[in-house]
Structures are given as C-alpha cells and as structure tokens.
C-alpha cells in the first residue's frame, strides 16, 4: 500500500478539512490512487505526482481530462471543471477501480441506491438527485462512469464522460 499522504507530502486530512462539507474517511490507498468525485483538482495533481508516467492530460474548452493507467490494467479518467472540481469519473478495464475511493463522498449514496434496486442482477444505471452512475460489463471486463449534474460545466454533453 502506498498512501496518498506520502505522495503529496502533506496530510490528506488537511485538504479534507480545508474542503468543508466533504465527508471524511480514513482509507488505505491502493497503488493506483485516484481523485474523488466532487473533490478538488489538487488531489488529481497529487496523484499525477504519485503516478509518474501513467497519466495523460487532455484539455478541451470546457474541461480537462486526467487519464490514469492503473497497475491493474484498468484506465480511469477524471473530468475536471475550469473551477477545478472533479465533476465526472469513468473507468474501463479488466478490474473495477476502488469505488469507495473513486466516488468519495458519493459512495454511500451509490451503494444505498444500488441496494434499493435489488433483487436484480446486471448493469447498474442510477439517476439519483445530484448523482448519475452507470456501471456495466462482466467479471474481467468493467466499464462505467459517474458524474455530478450540478457540477457539470456548461455546454458539456454527459455522453462525453466515458
């Protein structure tokens, strides 16, 4: 395990407190660390430092995409608004990313909403107040995305988050 704290050189909890209103967790981070949905771009930049050579940045007029090739073989994309907030995340690859870490403060809402859909099996497509999650695929091939409609920059088509 490599913690994000070690990668950034400053306590992660400091950032959390600084970002009042974001729920707090104390977590061990797997080797491939991601920024959290709804979190600040600072966490993405910390991850970039942590994951040298595994990140690609693409900038459009409306947002910036940080693409991480995780050690597991799965690609994670983080969509950051001009205001510096992670408003969307997407994943594709043989293993699911750590959803708790990726969805951050929205993880509990995701789990609760998913459980309300049971008993069923198959792809998850949630349209919750303030949270959209699509999760598809099968064992050894997973694809999905999550985004925050209220944080979407103007003129961004949700279909772009993939």
């Amino acid at each position: 395990m490599i913690s994000a704290t070690a990668a950034t050189g400053r306590p992660r909890s400091h950032w959390r407190i600084w970002m009042a209103g974001v729920a707090m967790f104390t977590l061990a981070w797997p080797a491939a660390a991601y920024a959290e949905l709804g979190s600040n771009v600072a966490s993405v930049e910390a991850d970039q430092e942590h994951m040298k050579g595994t990140r690609r940045i693409t900038t459009t007029a409306e947002y910036t995409v940080y693409e991480i090739q995780a050690e597991s073989g799965t690609t994670v994309r983080e969509f950051v608004s001009p205001a510096g907030m992670v408003f969307g995340v997407a994943w594709q690859g043989p293993f699911k990313p750590d959803m708790r870490q990726l969805l951050g403060a929205y993880f509990d809402q995701f789990v609760q909403a998913s459980q309300n859909k049971r008993p069923r099996r198959g792809a998850i497509s949630l349209r919750e107040p303030g949270l959209v999650v699509d999760s598809g695929g099968h064992m050894r091939s997973f694809t999905g995305r999550a985004y925050l409609p209220q944080m979407m920059p103007e003129n961004v088509d949700p279909a772009a988050i993939k």
Partner: protein
C-alpha cells in the same frame, strides 16, 4: 422494486413451457434441448422454490460440493447459472453449518477473496472442493464461500455494493461458467493491484498475488471430459412472459452426440471476453452474452428513443413494444444478426404477479450490449472456455 419483486415471489406458481423441435439455432423458440445424459445438468428458470430471492429472469441449478476425496458432500440448490463469470461461489448460509471444506492457504495463512461482479462485490474465503454436476466431477476445485463467518471483516478496499446475502446475491450461490478459466488470470499472478485475493494472518487480511492454479477456477474446465465449454439451453417464452421453464446446461462442445455446434455461428472474443455489436451503423465493441444478467442491458434512452419507466425506474418503458435489429461480430470476423423486442416493463410487471421470465425486458447500459437471460430464452448458446480446443478451434468464443 424490492417490494414489488418479493410480492411476485409470494404469488408464485410454476408452469412449464414445451420445447421446440427443429434445429435452427438462430431463431428463438426452435432450439432443441438435451433431455438427459451424463453431461446434462437440469436448469430451472423463472419463479419457483429454486429461485430463493425471487429474482426476475434467473436460471438456476443444483450443485454438489464435497470435501475433496471424501463422500462428505453438500447439495446446494438455487445456484445462479452465470455465463458472465467464472467459478463456484456459495453463500456460507447455504451450506451446512461448519461444513469442513478446507481453506486454501498461502504462506501458512488462509486466503480470502473480494470477487468482482458488475453490480457489486462478494467477500469470503477461498476453499477447495470436489464439484459434482450431472455425471461429471471436478476434483479439488478452488472456489469461494461468500460471507464465511471465519472472515467477518470486509476490507475497506472491497467496497460495495456488497453481495453477502441471498437477497443481495439473488441466489444461494453463483455457478460461473463463462469464457475464462480463472476469475482473475495472469494479472493476479504478478500483482496484487487487481484487489481480488487476500492473505489473512491473524492481524487482518491484506491484498496479495495468487497463482493461476490457486485462483477460483471454472469447474467445467477441471472435468476429466466434456471440459471445453458449456451450452445453456432454455425454451422460449411468449411476449407476455412465463412463470418458469426448464432447460439444460450441457457440458462440452462437440465432445458427445448431444453437444455439437451444428449451424451455430462462432464469435471469437477479445482479451476481455467481448465481441462487437453493431446497431444503426455504429459499433459497440464491449458487448457480450451473460445469463447472469436478468435483462437486455443496452445503450441509453437517448440512443434507443425509449423512455425510462416511472415505476420500475431502471427499466425501459417504450409506449409500445419496440423492435431492434443488431449484428454481433466476433474477433474472427464472423457475424450473425440478432433481433429482439423491448416491451414496456411497467406494463409487463404489473400484468401478472406470477410471471418471472421475460424475453423483452430491457434496461440501459451506455455504450454496451449485454445480452442477458432474455437472449437465452429460445436459443442454445455455446460458451467456449479460453485455451480449450473445440471442433471450431480454441476458446474463448460465444456461439449461437
């Protein structure tokens, strides 16, 4: 949804749908179904006592697991037949209390697993068992006991939605008979990054690597014969659905007189186990068949022009039934068309409390076609295991 579907369960009655008789494998409703044989395992789909959580569009069977090399065995019904995963996974609650399947160990410590399904994760120990189905036996198969009380602490990195109960899982266990030999493969041999396998000293479970042979295995690949794949055979249902029906899980492809490919089209799969579905001229390369998905999960409202339901909010609710025509193409360039219909799920599910099988239940899945159990109703679907030879060449492939 939870309330509605349990309501359906309370009103269950069982009916049978007759089998078709001809041999055209591409037209639902005309598929021959193997009646018996040393390689034929009975499958029940729909509603009934075999469906312990009362899920819609589930196919179930019964598996016998034994302490390796002994006659100390347990019979587990309510096992979901899942061509979208690999491995035998049984809830501890579905086994006799204290049933002594030996824990797998690494470095003297027991091994546990966080198994990944599309809709959640299952945490439990890795054990070995002799697995018996039809007249076939797989010896000392690494498998998972979900919610094993010996490993109650679920690691934070194995996040939910967790599937630790019959309700969560929709079954007493999962019989994963997909295209892969193992549930992880080579990625877990060299790295713990996939986050599947854990070693569990007394201080707590931590992620670890896992050799191919020690990973949770495809039980059919470990049979001494008929070990190159399976055929799931289920009868068709009318547009209004059916309470239940019965079919077969046939072991082997082209190994006996009852499991020939015949005229089925072979679609070889990419490294992730997918083929390409083309719809309206657009290719969707991450597509697949999966009997463990309980609907036809594909695209989205914008692309399909179907609104979402107001009651069963995760399903499509077209104002009138809508037909779709797509083409599936394998890595080998072979292709075959599929036509299907999506009906209004609110209307379907409110019309009857005893109907559990629907060929026309659809839900979104942006950018992907997941041909779930409705696709299997009325088709014989071949699932060839990676690296295993068959008359059409080695797996992995899907054929129908």
């Amino acid at each position: 949804m939870l309330r509605l579907w349990f309501g359906l369960l309370l009103g269950t009655s069982i009916g049978l749908v007759g089998c078709g008789g001809s041999s055209n494998t591409n037209v639902p409703g005309t598929n021959p179904i193997a009646g018996s044989g040393s390689n034929v395992q009975a499958v029940n789909a729909g509603g009934g006592t075999f469906n312990p959580a009362g899920i819609l569009n589930g196919a179930f069977t019964t598996v016998i697991v034994c302490v390796p090399g002994t006659s100390n065995c347990a019979t587990v019904n309510g096992m979901l037949v899942d061509t979208g995963s690999t491995g035998v996974r049984i809830l501890a609650s579905a086994l006799p209390s204290g049933f002594p399947l030996p824990h797998q160990t690494t470095g003297g410590n027991p091994v546990a697993e966080c198994a990944q399904f599309v809709d959640g994760s299952a945490w439990g120990s890795v054990v070995t068992a002799d697995v018996k189905m039809a007249s076939e036996v797989a010896s000392s198969v690494p498998m998972q006991i979900i919610a094993d009380p010996a490993f109650p602490t679920i690691p934070a990195a194995c996040p939910g939605p967790l599937e630790q109960t019959v309700t969560d899982l929709g079954a007493n266990g999962i019989l994963g008979v997909g295209n892969f030999r193992q549930d992880c493969g080579s990625a877990c041999v060299t790295s713990s990054a996939p986050g599947l396998y854990y070693t569990c000293p007394g201080s707590g479970c931590v992620v670890t690597t896992q050799s191919l042979a020690a990973q949770v295995q495809h039980p059919v690949a470990m049979f001494s014969t008929d070990n190159n794949g399976v055929i799931l055979q289920l009868p068709s249902v009318p547009a209004s659905g059916a309470a239940s029906n019965s079919g077969s899980l046939v072991f082997g492809i082209g190994t006996q007189s009852n499991n020939a490919l015949g005229s089925a089209t072979v679609l070889t799969l990419d490294a992730n186990g997918n083929f390409t579905t083309t719809f309206n001229g657009q290719a969707f390369p991450g597509s697949f068949v999966d009997s463990g998905s309980n609907g036809l999960f594909f695209l989205d409202s914008t692309t399909t022009h179907m609104p979402m339901c107001t009651t069963n909010t995760e399903f499509y609710c077209p104002t009138s039934s809508q037909g779709f025509s797509v083409t599936n193409t394998g890595v080998n360039g072979q292709s075959t068309p599929v036509t299907f219909t999506i009906a209004n799920a609110d209307a379907l599910l409110s019309a009857s409390t005893t109907t559990f099988l629907f060929s026309n239940l659809g839900a979104p899945n942006p950018g992907i076609f997941d041909f779930g159990l409705p696709f299997f109703l009325g088709r014989n679907v071949f699932v060839a295991i990676e690296g295993q030879n068959t008359p059409a060449g080695p797996g992995p492939y899907t054929a129908y």
